[in-house]
Symmetry: C2
Subunit: 345 residues, 2 copies
């Protein structure tokens, strides 16, 4: 009565991306409306003269969040924001969202309402309509599954695969903050466990803690790009770390990448906290996850139109594939770029 | 650092529907494309000349399924089918699907592949494209979240709210089978636990076990209705039990309902198994969940066009609201109809 197979491969051996590759290979498309399926930030479906964009994320207690430091309201906000970020990464506008919850009996009606207050704030910030979901019980902990639907005109969509040689690589905001925020929260949790009398003072870390607990999707930049009349040649959101996302663009666009250490945007608080924790700030920027900034490439002509945007940094350029992936250090050395990414297994 | 509220209401006190009501009230819609949100089998979104239909379901191990008797392949199939059933219940055609999994380390790559084989069979049966998902780890057990997107012309959509007085109430297939299949599986599991040497013989129950483990979405009937040129005035799929679904239609359409006991479709195996387990077969038909048949109402003129469909039963009619909800028994007595539904909390 149980499932038994002779061969057993652990998921960790091939990783999340390996697993997705393996599964998606055997699936074809039957509907001509399905323009793009698995493999980008969102799927693309024909919808009259426009396209609908569809993305989904699952957040599991104990894996993606720890309720001992994230308030339910922030978690509700974040659950929406991370999906909106995927729609932004396609250069689209979010329109609708479904939110499903699996709840253990630890959660009261009031707790669920707190969560949905956060969902509501996010729906207001991003002009998204909550259109459905499913609510069920769960044996342990909280499970959140969100699907977001966005819209774009066909010509507006930015994929991962169309970066071209000599394009400028840009990134919004600053990076590594969410990782350092998490690091601080984990330390405070340990302190609190040892001595519950001790009230944590995290005021010095406010910026990075907020980056972790209440990230924003960069819809503001999507609107700025639209106003400037610029469509990025490729785009992705930085959820797993800058290096990992650069590799996705490089792989799908079949190009090489060069970025400059001294151009990487890092906030002072992130930098100082990294130093405090004896971590390399550049590694935090390259491999820290959950910043939900946008990484995109644009043609050199278009760069003129956006170079004065206050929250966009040019960090490098797209190279020929055979030139590989490189980081030019502050000292002027060229070293291979390495991606570590965020492991969920 | 934890969430504490003074008042604590258990979710069980207000139930799943109470919780959804409470939350959805505070959410409005900002986008004119959002035609219908929470409250029907699927949301309805404008899409050029047509509409997109969106529905989502979460299935949690230990709550919705027990891997000691459902093979992963069947579970994959069922996860898709139950969502396709919601699209069918809007009189739409399923087009795309996203599948997200939370997996504990009990699950190997091969196990995930078995699950997706079932997903693939369902995608083929219903002509649906797998367009995305999320794969992550879970502290315990398997979590499945599926979102399906369908399509319909605006005039084709059947809501729950438009049933009218004198409409005929119809239901597809037969009911109560999935519940009795589950009952048999639960008994065999107990037998197996007591004596693992004993191989369960469920061949006599094959039909109802299949109803539980591998339900079908009734897309065949949707195509037949289309061919007959009939749009149901209201429709819902029978996932929580016939009585509960009748109450949804009655409430949203503001009508009364009369159904006839002798018209209720029940399979012989379901009937005999109910008797064997000392359960009332009519109660199984009225309150058994997970049959995934379609319950719909049509005008009397349209009934002529479909009355010869082999797998559709007329079970009653829509009455004035003030006449309430009634069951006419085989003995000719009229008794109030009671809904019990499926409790997930």
């Amino acid at each position: 009565m149980s499932q038994e197979k002779e061969k057993r491969t652990e998921i960790g051996e091939i990783g999340e991306f390996g697993l997705i590759d393996r599964i998606s290979k055997s699936f074809g498309h039957k509907n001509p409306e399905t323009l793009v399926g698995i493999g980008d930030d969102a799927a693309v479906i024909e919808s009259g003269a426009k396209v609908k964009l569809v993305t989904t994320d699952m957040l599991v207690e104990g894996v993606h969040f720890d309720l001992s430091y994230i308030p339910l309201q922030h978690l509700g906000y974040k659950s929406v924001a991370v999906n909106v970020s995927d729609i932004a990464a396609m250069n689209g506008k979010p329109k609708q969202i479904t939110v499903s919850l699996g709840l253990s009996n630890r959660f009261s009606v009031e707790a669920v309402e707190s969560f949905y207050e956060g969902v509501k704030f996010a729906c207001e910030d991003y002009a998204v309509d909550l259109i459905g979901g499913d609510t069920t019980s769960s044996p342990t902990g909280l499970i959140i599954s969100v699907t977001a639907i966005g819209e774009a005109s066909k010509e507006q969509v930015s994929y991962r695969k169309n970066a071209e040689e000599n394009d400028i690589i840009c990134v919004t905001g600053d990076l590594g903050g969410a990782l350092m925020g998490l690091t601080v929260l984990e330390r405070e949790k340990e302190v609190f466990k040892t001595n519950p009398e001790m009230q944590p003072d995290i005021s010095a870390y406010e910026y990075i803690v907020k980056r972790q607990l209440k990230p924003s999707a960069r819809m503001d930049v999507i609107f700025e790009l639209e106003e400037a009349g610029v469509v990025p040649t490729s785009m992705i959101d930085v959820s797993d770390g800058l290096a990992s996302e650069l590799f996705h663009i490089a792989k799908q666009s079949e190009v090489g990448i060069t970025i400059y250490e001294d151009k990487l945007p890092i906030d002072e608080v992130t930098y100082n906290t990294a130093v405090e924790f004896k971590m390399d700030p550049v590694t935090c920027v390259l491999n820290g996850g959950e910043d939900y900034e946008l990484l995109f490439t644009i043609s050199q002509t278009d760069f003129e139109k956006i170079k004065n945007l206050p929250d966009v940094s040019a960090i490098g350029y797209i190279d020929k594939k055979e030139n590989g992936h490189k980081l030019v250090t502050k000292g002027g050395n060229t070293v291979p770029l390495q991606a570590q990414g965020w492991k969920h297994f």
